[in-house]
Symmetry: D2
Subunit: 260 residues, 4 copies
């Protein structure tokens, strides 16, 4: 059984800041957002977590392995180096969507995202070492079959992007509704999903649904581990097996082992 | 009439690089991608252009005002500082999608995006000063009505994101098909579209379509200028007028003026 | 007694790379160097170490608290994101200069800094948890008395800089020769020294020497801890006491305690 | 004759900010400083200027080719993305030190560097296109003869650094006093000097002085151009000629040409 620790990262009062005293240059905002995300990716990633940019003013991190002190340090360090501050809401649950629900609720209870007085909230609590296990995180790494040959080398870039984007929009909704999994576009033709303990059949259903509804053909490698990096790295290797063997769904370990 | 100069930015042979000799850590890839985008945003943005991250391995820039030497310098500077190189394909057309079609074709003709020998291509040519005009770029800046109150402060972050994302997926497809405009999610609840000379009616139709199909309520500020920044900054101010007056569509200048 | 763990960070074969195939743009090299340093500062700093830019192609880090796996991860992550790679040589000793001697020797034994085949060496070994103690690191944080009033607001910037620089050049040489301490300019009018267990008299002698030889008046806060951050943060607070009380040398704790 | 345009970049009220409300983490400050410098290096460098980090809270830029609007844009963009703001003082003079004196005076007149109310000052004015010429900037690029063989591969890193540093401290003072030139350490064994129109004899005298006083053997390539990059790139190529031919001083063009 999975036990995902998710941390919602929310820039405090960001919308109003972007237009105060008048609208700021768009490319400066884009730079700020993407660099903030990159810094989170390095901090969380070098501690074996994952972070996804989502809406940039709100980002979702898988933080199994990071403790309360890590969260405080991250918050402090961002506050020292950026013109904005961040609030962090942590939640833990076998179901990723429930974990995020809990992390989000912690911030919502403290005030609105656009409340100028609500700054650097840190809510929720992290897993102790004793509570952690080697199957806490399941990561699925999807990509599109032959995206370069079918899209990138053939269509104009926007029409290629539309194909990938519609595939993503379909998958994200399906996995959210059917499996309580959270799916994030991570660039290129790649989508990474934070999943509960799902079966091969569950993944086959998702791939079939995206094919039928959006006409986009996916394959997926699935990994399980104590952290997002452990699970995600195993998923990447499983995806390489798909590429080599021409298969659609590969797990990093037998189901029997997962069921233990 | 608009005359948009678009530059496709494509990381050379990126997919294979990410898994050679074995898959690289996902958070390092995310860091690399988002910092590369940030550097492009600063280079292009400080010359009054816009760049959108799209799929990160392929990015789309509005480069009216940047000449061939600027493109060469950008390519050179990225090559000096990153483990990857970029190719650039430039296209110009009254229709944004045609401009991108042309820019993309320049790179496709030179070889596949995953051809290891095709590096640092620079194709197409930029507008001369004599060819440029004050109405070359039309930018529409959309946002979601009361996204904080309806979504961020009420739903969990992923369900908020699904709403925004489905609104975006619907708008991007509609504007592409109906108006040859290119729409990009830029964070928060913001979408920026690079448009041909569209009318107020065209924008109202788009907003109505997104409301009906995805249930997401948008408003839009529209600006026109010689560069993406000029047009986009005017669009931001027009969007502020929407916010203050409770209107759905605002232009930065009367239509009569645009028709000149 | 201190027990400093120092890691030499050396960019592999950097000199030749900067002029291959022809000299690269200077500002791109400066950007690369300073961002690489910033990334090291975040990685090492968020694990409570310190890193100093020194010559940029060779940097010195105080890494008490970082283990072998941290060093490997750092090396791997830099290799994934930069066009250059780094080698790391670790040394541990009560004397900082001996620790660095040992760390440097590890790399020198493996080959020349400009040997194109010597890449990503990791030599030496880190302290185990059992070997670590609360007095392992002593940090002295110096600044110049009234640098703003005497220099910045009065002289042109280069002449201000000459004053600070000559003060630094004098201090670095003196502390190296007299005390085996390593001193680094860290911006503004600040110098941070990594020291063995030195006494108040040792610091007074150093300040007097710099005053007599370079005409620059310093004060210093000294801190001791298990990590560079613990020691350095205590040193900063001690320096604040100097500022408030008008004193020249302040320790974070009584000598008797240090002698335990 | 040279005509150097120098811009002093000063972080507003930085010292007090670093200790408010209490001292900030040193590695966060180091990160902030080096990233701010990197951003300046990209902005100024991609417009063919040079910037030197000097004391980090005060930096010196050679900005021939950048106009007032460029300076305003830079100031605005930094203010949008950092927790600190910058003031800029521009000066122009055949003598680099006089240009910097003038640029510094502009800021000093406006208030103290630690005056909390003095923010985002922009003083002085830039050269018009009509005033600019192809010999406005002279750059000398020094390096140390066989630094890798004599120091890096033989001494511990701090003792190597001391050699380089003492050579630099000697050169910077000599060229300032004898020639009104400004010299900056730029990493490795490299020093870049912004010079008035100096002769081969002047450079030989400087090299001899550093050899005699600090025991460090230098060579130098000298370039002249309309911008720092033009001059500096020519200097790098001239330095390559020194390396190949074993000479000490090389100019990019005959003196007769410079005297025209």
């Amino acid at each position: 059984m999975t036990n995902t620790q998710l941390s919602l990262v929310q820039i405090d009062n960001y919308g109003p800041w972007t237009v105060t005293p008048e609208p700021r240059r768009e490319m400066d905002l884009q730079t700020l957002q993407s660099r903030l995300f990159a810094d989170l990716a390095q901090f969380v990633g070098s501690r074996n977590g994952y972070v996804f940019f989502t809406r940039f003013d709100n980002m979702v991190a898988v933080t199994n392995g990071l403790d309360d002190a890590d969260h405080e340090l991250l918050q402090d360090s961002i506050g020292n180096r950026y013109p904005v501050t961040i609030s962090l809401g942590v939640g833990v649950d076998p179901s990723p969507i429930e974990a995020l629900e809990s992390g989000t609720a912690g911030l919502q209870t403290a005030g609105s995202a656009q409340d100028g007085d609500r700054r650097e909230v840190l809510s929720g609590s992290t897993l102790s070492d004793a509570e952690r296990a080697g199957e806490d995180v399941q990561i699925a790494h999807f990509d599109v079959n032959d995206a370069t040959g079918k899209y990138t080398d053939r269509l104009n870039e926007f029409d290629s992007f539309i194909q990938i984007e519609q595939g993503y929009a379909t998958l994200m909704r399906y996995l959210r509704e059917e499996d309580d999994a959270l799916s994030f576009f991570v660039g290129g033709d790649n989508i990474i999903s934070v999943c509960p303990a799902m079966t091969e059949g569950d993944y086959r259903d998702a791939i079939r649904h995206v094919s039928e509804e959006a006409g986009v053909e996916l394959k997926v490698g699935v990994g399980t581990g104590a952290t997002a990096h452990d699970a995600g790295f195993a998923a990447k290797h499983a995806l390489e097996v798909c590429r080599e063997d021409g298969t659609d769904v590969e797990f990093d370990r037998p189901h029997a082992e997962l069921a233990d």
